[in-house]
C-alpha cells in the first residue's frame, strides 16, 4: 500500500477531485472520438510522426493556447482568493501550489512554445528554405517539450504540485520544507522540456546561418528571423545553466547531496544565482521574438519599411549580451554587498537604452506611414505605451537601494506582468491573427478580434495597475491572505474584476476561432495583408516543400520588391524536390522520456533504468537507420503548383 500512497494528492480538495474526473472524461472523449471517426491513422500519419516545420509549429501553438487556459485558470483562482480580505477559498498550501504552477506553466509551457511555434512556422518560410536544418531533431524537440509539459501537468492529480514558487528557491524547495513530490516534478519536467528547447536552439541557429535563400545576407534578413537568431543564441548560452541547476536540485532532493542545503558546506544562494543566470536571459528569449513579430507587423500595416534596421539589429545584440549580466537584480536584498548591487543596478538600467531605441524605431516606422488599424496592428500599438510603463517600472526596480522597498511586493508582480502581457502575450495574439490566414487559409474575424483587444487591454490595466499601488503600500507577493485593516481590499477587488475581463477576452479568442471556422471566406489571396517578406510569397495553404523554386533576394523586403520594383522572386525552373521522411521515433522517444521522468519523480529506479535503456535504443535505432529522405517528383510538384494557382 505504501507504494501506492505516494501517488495520492497530499492536500486533496473538491476542485482537485473535479479536475481528476474532468481529465478522465476528456481522455475518454478524445479516445472515443478518434475511434468513432476512424482518425487514429490520420493522427499518426499526419501529425504524430510529422517532421514538417509548419505542422510542428502549429502543434506548438495549439499546446501554448491550451496551456494559456490552464495557467489562466490558476490566475483566476489566485485573484479570486485575494479579491476579499481573509478569504477562505484556498488554504495556504493550495495557494502556494497554484501560484507555483501558474508561473511555470505561463513561462515554460505557454510563452516558450508560443514563440518556438512561431519560429518553427515562420523562419524557414521567411528565409526561403524548405524546412529546418534538422527536421527529425525538430520533431524530437517538440515531443520533449510536450512530454515535459504533460509531466508537469499531471502533478496536481498524481502526487501533488510544486509549491515553492516558479523560482523554486532552496531551502524552501528542499525535502524539509517542500514535502510532496511536487518539486521533483518541477525539476524533471523542466529538465525534459529544457532539453527540447536546447535542441531547438541548435536547429534554428543552423537553419538561419546555413539555409538562407541566395542573396539574403545576414543584414538582409527579416527582423523576426534576426530576433529568432539572437534569441536562440541566448538559448544555447543559458539553457545549459538551467540543466546543471536542475540536476543539482534533483540530486539534493533524491540523492541527499548538499548543493543547496544549509549544512555541510551547501549554499542555498547558489540555486538563486544559477536559476537567474538562466532565468533572466530567459525573459529576453521570450521578448526578443515578440519584438521581431511587432517589427514585421508594424512595418506591414504602416506600409513602410522598418525604420532603423541596423539599429534594430544592434539593439537586440546588445540586449542579448546585457541580459546575461543582470541576474543578481532578482535578489538585491539578499546581502551580496554594495559593490555587486551597484554593478547589477547599472547593467540592468543600461538595458533600457537599446530597448528605448527599438521603441523609437517602431514609432518612426509609423511616422508618415499609411497605418491600417487591423487587429495585429492594434496589439502592436497598444504594446508600445503599455510596455513602456512596464519598462519604466523596471528601471525603478533596478535601483538597488530603492529595491529594498519594492522587493517581493505586488509592485514587482505588476512590473513583470506589465512587460510580459503587453510584451509577449500581445505579440503572440497579434502574431496568431497575422499568420492565421497563412496557416489555415482563412482570416480571423476582425470585429471579434477588436473586441478581444480592447477587453484584454482594459482588463489588463484594471488587473495589474492597482498592484503597483498596493505593492508600494507593502502588500507582499505570494501571501494567500491579508487582513481588512491593511486597506488593500478595494484595489484587490479591482484586480479581480480586471482578471475576469481578461478571462472574457481569452474566451472571445476561442469564440473567434469557432466563428471564423464557420463563417470566414476561404477565398483569400496568399498575401492578404499586403505584406513585405517571403513567407507571403508562397501559396496558401503552404505546400509541404514551401517553395517550388528557391527564391532570389535583393533586400530585406523581397516580396515588396517583387510587387513594386519588378524584382523577379522565382527565376528558376520547377524540379524534383528532396524532402525528409516522417518518423515515429521522436514521438516514441518523447513517450519514453515521459516514463523516465515520471519514474524519476517517484524514485522508481527499475523503471528509470528500463526507460534509460529505451532512450538509448531509440538513439541507436536512429544511428543505424538508413534514411535518405524522399523525392517529390517533378510531375507531382507541377500538379500541386497548378492546383494552388500557378507556379510561383
Amino acid at each position: 500500500m505504501e507504494f501506492f500512497e505516494r501517488f495520492a494528492v497530499p492536500h486533496p480538495s473538491p476542485a482537485i477531485y473535479a479536475s481528476m474526473v474532468a481529465i478522465g472524461l476528456t481522455v475518454i472523449a478524445i479516445v472515443a472520438g478518434l475511434t468513432y471517426f476512424k482518425k487514429w491513422g490520420y493522427l499518426w500519419r499526419e501529425w504524430l510522426t510529422t517532421v514538417d516545420h509548419k505542422r510542428l509549429g502549429i502543434m506548438y501553438l495549439l499546446c501554448a493556447l491550451i496551456m494559456l487556459f490552464r495557467g489562466g485558470v490558476d490566475a483566476i483562482m489566485l485573484r479570486a482568493q485575494l479579491a476579499v480580505p481573509d478569504n477562505k477559498l484556498l488554504d495556504s498550501q493550495h495557494y502556494n501550489e497554484v501560484f507555483s504552477t501558474h508561473g511555470v506553466v505561463m513561462i515554460m509551457f505557454m510563452a516558450m512554445p508560443f514563440i518556438i511555434g512561431f519560429m518553427n512556422y515562420i523562419v524557414p518560410l521567411q528565409i526561403g528554405a524548405r524546412d529546418v536544418a534538422f527536421p527529425r531533431l525538430n520533431a524530437i524537440s517538440f515531443w520533449l517539450f510536450f512530454m515535459g509539459a504533460m509531466l508537469f501537468n499531471i502533478s496536481f492529480v498524481v502526487g501533488g504540485s510544486p509549491d515553492a514558487g516558479w523560482t523554486s528557491y532552496f531551502p524552501l524547495a528542499s525535502n524539509d520544507f517542500s514535502t510532496s513530490v511536487g518539486t521533483n516534478y518541477y525539476m524533471l519536467s523542466l529538465q525534459i522540456a529544457g532539453l527540447g528547447t536546447l535542441m531547438t536552439g541548435i536547429n534554428m541557429i543552423t537553419t538561419i546561418m546555413k539555409m538562407r535563400a541566395p542573396g539574403m545576407t545576414l543584414m538582409k534578413m527579416p527582423m523576426f528571423t534576426w530576433s529568432t537568431l539572437v534569441a536562440n543564441l541566448i538559448i544555447i548560452t543559458v539553457f545549459p545553466v538551467l540543466t546543471v541547476a536542475l540536476a543539482m536540485g534533483t540530486m539534493d532532493r533524491l540523492f541527499g547531496t548538499n548543493f543547496f542545503t544549509t549544512t555541510n558546506g551547501g549554499m542555498d544562494m547558489m540555486w538563486a544565482n544559477l536559476f537567474w543566470v538562466w532565468g533572466h536571459p530567459e525573459v529576453y528569449i521570450l521578448i526578443l521574438p515578440a519584438f521581431g513579430l511587432y517589427s514585421e507587423i508594424i512595418s506591414t500595416f504602416s506600409s513602410r519599411n522598418l525604420y532603423g534596421y541596423k539599429s534594430m539589429v544592434a539593439s537586440m545584440v546588445i540586449i542579448s549580451a546585457l541580459s546575461c549580466l543582470v541576474w543578481a537584480h532578482h535578489f538585491f536584498t539578499m546581502g551580496q554587498g554594495a559593490l555587486a548591487n551597484s554593478f547589477f543596478s547599472i547593467t540592468t538600467m543600461a538595458i533600457a537604452v537599446p530597448t528605448g531605441v527599438k521603441i523609437f524605431n517602431w514609432l518612426f516606422t509609423m511616422w508618415k506611414g499609411k497605418i491600417r488599424f487591423t487587429v495585429p496592428m492594434l496589439y502592436s500599438i497598444g504594446f508600445i505605451p503599455l510596455f513602456t510603463i512596464g519598462g519604466v517600472t523596471g528601471v525603478m526596480l533596478a535601483m538597488s537601494a530603492a529595491d529594498y522597498q519594492y522587493h517581493n511586493t505586488m509592485f514587482l508582480v505588476a512590473h513583470f506582468h506589465n512587460t510580459i502581457i503587453p510584451g509577449v502575450v500581445f505579440a503572440m495574439l497579434a502574431g496568431l491573427t497575422y499568420y492565421w490566414p497563412k496557416m489555415f487559409g482563412f482570416m480571423l474575424n476582425e470585429r471579434i478580434g477588436k473586441w478581444t483587444f480592447w477587453l484584454l487591454s482594459i482588463g489588463f490595466v484594471l488587473a495589474f495597475f492597482p498592484m503597483y499601488i498596493t505593492g508600494l503600500d507593502g502588500q507582499a507577493r505570494r501571501m494567500y491572505t491579508y487582513s481588512e485593516a491593511t486597506g488593500y481590499s478595494t484595489l484587490n477587488m479591482v484586480s479581480f474584476v480586471g482578471a475576469g475581463i481578461m478571462a472574457v477576452a481569452f474566451a472571445l479568442i476561442v469564440y473567434n476561432v469557432y466563428y471564423s471556422v464557420r463563417y470566414a471566406s476561404r477565398n483569400i489571396s496568399s498575401d492578404p495583408w499586403d505584406a513585405r517578406t517571403l513567407e507571403w510569397a508562397t501559396h496558401t495553404p503552404v505546400p509541404e516543400y514551401n517553395f517550388a523554386v528557391v527564391p532570389q533576394v535583393k533586400t530585406s523586403e523581397p516580396l515588396w520588391d517583387a510587387k513594386k520594383r519588378k524584382h523577379v522572386l522565382f527565376p528558376g525552373k520547377l524540379n524534383k524536390i528532396h524532402m525528409p521522411n516522417n518518423s515515429g521515433v521522436p514521438f516514441i522517444l518523447g513517450t519514453i522520456f515521459f516514463v523516465w521522468g515520471f519514474s524519476f519523480v517517484f524514485a522508481i529506479w527499475p523503471l528509470v533504468i528500463i526507460s534509460t535503456i529505451g532512450i538509448f535504443t531509440c538513439l541507436a535505432f536512429r544511428s543505424f537507420e538508413k534514411d535518405h529522405g524522399r523525392y517529390i517528383s517533378l510531375e507531382e510538384v507541377t500538379e500541386t503548383e497548378e492546383k494552388l494557382g500557378g507556379a510561383k
Binding site: 536552439g201 545549459p240 547558489m270 541507436a620
Partner: protein, 198 residues
C-alpha cells in the same frame, strides 16, 4: 564552407555541412554546461563541511593514468580522421577502435577513483565539495560513457557500410566530440586536481 567535390568526404553533401555546423553549436552549449559546473566547483571548493578537502582526497597516480590515456586517445582519433581523409578504411577503424579501448581504460580508472573516494568517506552526500567534485567528474565520465556507445555504433557502421559521406560525417563529428571531452579533461586536470593538490 560550400558543399562540393573539392571538400573532404565528411563535408561532401549539404546535409553533412549542416550536421557539422550544428554540432559545433551543440559544443557551444556543452562549453556552457561545463563552465557552469566549473564555476560552481570554484564556489564550493573550500566548502567541505565536516568532510575531507581535495588535498586530502586526490591521488596523483590514477589521475596521471587517466590524463595520459585520454590525451593519447584524442591523438589517436586525430590519426583516425587523417586515415579517413586518405580513404584508408582499415586504418580509420583501427584508430577508432584504439580510441575507444583507451576510453574504456579511462572509464575503468575513473570508476576505481570514485569507489576509492566512497571508501575513504568522501561520498557524494558528505559535503557540497564532494557533491560538486563528483558531479563535475561524473558529467565528464558520463560523456565518455555515452561516447563509447556512440563510437561503437559508428565503428559497426564503418565496417558494414564503408567510408561513405554519411559514415565519414558521423566519424568526423564523433572526433569533434572526443576532442572536446579531452579539452574538458585538461581543465579538470589543471583546475581541479593540480590546483587541489597544491
Amino acid at each position: 564552407m560550400k558543399a562540393g567535390h573539392a571538400q573532404p568526404l565528411e563535408y561532401s553533401t549539404h546535409q553533412n555541412d549542416l550536421n557539422i555546423f550544428g554540432f559545433w553549436v551543440f559544443l557551444g552549449a556543452e562549453i556552457m554546461l561545463f563552465a557552469t559546473l566549473f564555476t560552481t566547483y570554484f564556489v564550493y571548493e573550500g566548502r567541505t563541511g565536516t568532510g575531507p578537502s581535495g588535498a586530502e582526497m586526490f591521488e596523483i597516480t590514477p589521475v596521471l593514468i587517466e590524463t595520459i590515456v585520454l590525451l593519447t586517445s584524442s591523438f589517436l582519433i586525430g590519426l583516425g580522421v587523417h586515415a579517413m581523409r586518405l580513404g584508408n578504411k582499415k586504418a580509420t577503424m583501427a584508430f577508432f577502435a584504439l580510441t575507444l579501448a583507451l576510453g574504456l581504460v579511462f572509464l575503468g580508472v575513473e570508476i576505481y577513483e570514485f569507489a576509492h573516494y566512497v571508501h575513504i568517506g568522501a561520498g557524494i552526500q558528505i559535503s557540497a565539495f564532494t557533491a560538486i567534485l563528483m558531479t563535475t567528474l561524473g558529467t565528464h565520465g558520463m560523456h565518455v560513457t555515452f561516447g563509447l556507445f556512440w563510437g561503437t555504433a559508428i565503428l559497426i557502421q564503418l565496417k558494414k557500410r564503408g567510408l561513405t559521406p554519411e559514415t565519414a560525417n558521423k566519424s568526423f563529428i564523433f572526433s569533434l566530440y572526443w576532442h572536446f571531452l579531452d579539452v574538458v579533461w585538461i581543465f579538470i586536470f589543471s583546475f581541479i586536481y593540480l590546483k587541489g593538490m597544491m
